[in-house]
Amino acid sequence: MTNRILSLAWVAFLISIPFWMEDLYYLHVLIVTGIFIIAAMSLNLLLGYTGQLSLGHVAFFGIGAYVSSLVSLGFEIHVLPNTTVSLDPKPVWFAMLVAVIFSGLCGWFIGRVSFKVRGAYFVIVTVSFAEVVRLVSLNWMELTQGPMALNNIPYLTLGIPEVFEVEFIGKVPCYYLVLAVAVFTYVVIRRLVQSRAGRAMIALRENEPLASSVGVDVTRVLVLATIVSAGLAGLAGALYAHYVRIVDPDVFLFIYTVTMVIMVITGGKGTLAGPIVGGLVFGIFPEVLRGFQVQPEIQWITYGVLMILIVYFLPAGIVPAIRSLLPRRLVEGGDGSVEPNATAEARS
């Protein structure tokens, strides 16, 4: 209950921001941070709950960005000497939907391929996948324009044409769009991890042999987690594409995956709030440094030092550390007793 009030207060605060934040640049920082937080939340489903480190997570993000851009822009490619495949431009909402589904399918593929590989091998599979996708985006000029980038990507409009339409262009509407998608992502992941499916994911992380001894189909669970995780990362990528409205192969840079991993680990992997807290810290902190007009090198060093300090002193992350400071009664949900219906709520 306390949790729910706290979440609502948070959302109310976030909704209020554009009303008093006058500098649009800061709103831009929040939008980009928000998009990264969505990606980090999706990564957390894999890394924090199933315990599998995907070091190619940016691949799903980038695929979402490219697919959504291409479907909304339309394209024409020559596959065989005499065959061309073409697609007329589609509405942005539809393009975003296709992007989510396509990313989810890629997640399914990775989940299937990783059928028997865990740990280090899963890392290698995901890293290789991301690299392959990056090379495709760089070299398939006809489709992606390669390094010349896809330009003039349309922005999202929702509603009935000519009657009532919301255009998501400019900072304030985009801010609310990202906020809405972030809340959606949070709710989906929360429902998932607090259900039978999520418990199976956690079981896989905690003790795989025991999980299978009670009937958990390890492959199935891993595939489900990668599908949802990839789909949500693709959604973040699609948001990004229609916000910045230009996409080039740099969306696949390894450093973005690293950023997401840092956000999840410092915030607290396997906690719902972890990626949000970690994302806010590492999304906003560099801007604070910029505000002090420090040199970029110093910025990066400070960034690194902060990360090391957090990981060293709070190995489980910021959120679990704060939680362990709170009085136990508060965490357990009030009266300290554990009722059959109270436990999961209390630990969320």
């Binding site: 989906v188 003790n207 025991l210």
Partner: protein, 261 residues
């Protein structure tokens, strides 16, 4: 009027490279009984468990449970058919509370489609409530409900071993395999565990046990199979096992001497 056979092991052999852990093992488990596998360290008891529950592939032989061949199935498929085991080396979900451990163990009893979960359908909420109630029942059955909210890693050893049984029971076994469940327990805990076995039996669950504690083995087994170096040397009720010269020479003798000394 013997009960029907539920699990039938025929000519089971397990080899690890050049080492033969189990050689031509043949025995049957009958509905509702407590059958105990005994034998010296390294006799192949755990290996037999691993083969039955799909954790290792036997080199030869058949494992048939209620008419279905289990060889080649994955552990989760075998669990879905009612054959559930515990592990010799303590194995729980240590980062979760006792209650969550059991809730996780209830996996096979849950009915929730991933899409329904993500859409937050009321059917999922109802199913969760049902599972929570069932988890609570299991904790009570095993007698560990008092500490339901405590994290497994913080539990004393005795309760940890009980939790393992609770997690296995959550998977709704019809055949429960327990690998040295009372090792490390004190005599009071062991005595309590024996009454727990009685309660599990009363639920109609057949039990295949591996145990070195002879007081418990003799007290609760309907039948005992003694292994030595991968082979069966005896298959009889407790009273006969105690008198069997080969069993005494290979296993019991050594135990009795140790117990006295």
């Amino acid at each position: 009027m013997t009960a029907p056979t539920v699990l039938s092991i025929e000519g089971l052999s397990i080899r690890f490279g050049g080492l033969t852990a189990v050689e031509d093992l043949t025995f049957q488990v009958r509905e509702g009984e407590v059958l105990t596998l005994i034998g010296p360290n390294g006799a192949g008891k755990t290996s037999a468990f691993n083969a039955i529950t799909g954790y290792i592939q036997p080199s030869a032989g058949d494992i048939v449970y209620r008419g279905e061949c289990l060889v080649g199935m994955k552990p989760n498929q075998i669990a879905a058919r009612g054959v559930v085991r515990t592990f010799q080396k303590t194995s729980v979900f240590s980062g979760l509370t006792m209650f969550e451990n059991v809730l996780t163990g209830l996996h096979l009893r849950g009915k929730q489609h991933p899409l329904a979960i993500m859409l937050g359908l009321p059917s999922v909420r109802r199913d969760e409530e049902r599972l929570r109630a069932e988890a609570w029942e299991i904790l009570k059955l095993v007698g560990i409900e008092a500490r339901a909210g405590e994290q497994a890693s913080a539990l004393p050893y005795g309760e940890l071993r009980l939790l393992e049984v609770a997690v296995a029971l959550a998977a709704k076994p019809t055949l429960l395999l327990l690998d040295e469940p009372v090792s490390g327990m004190n005599p009071t805990e062991t005595a309590d565990f024996m009454t727990l076995i009685g309660r599990i039996r009363a639920l109609g669950i057949t039990i295949l046990l591996v145990e070195h504690d002879m007081k418990m083995v003799m007290g609760i087994s309907d039948r005992i199979v003694c292994l030595n170096q991968g082979r069966i040397i005896a298959d009889a009720p407790p009273a006969e096992i105690q008198k069997d010269p080969e069993v005494i020479r290979a296993y019991l003798g050594e135990r009795y001497v140790r117990a006295r000394g």
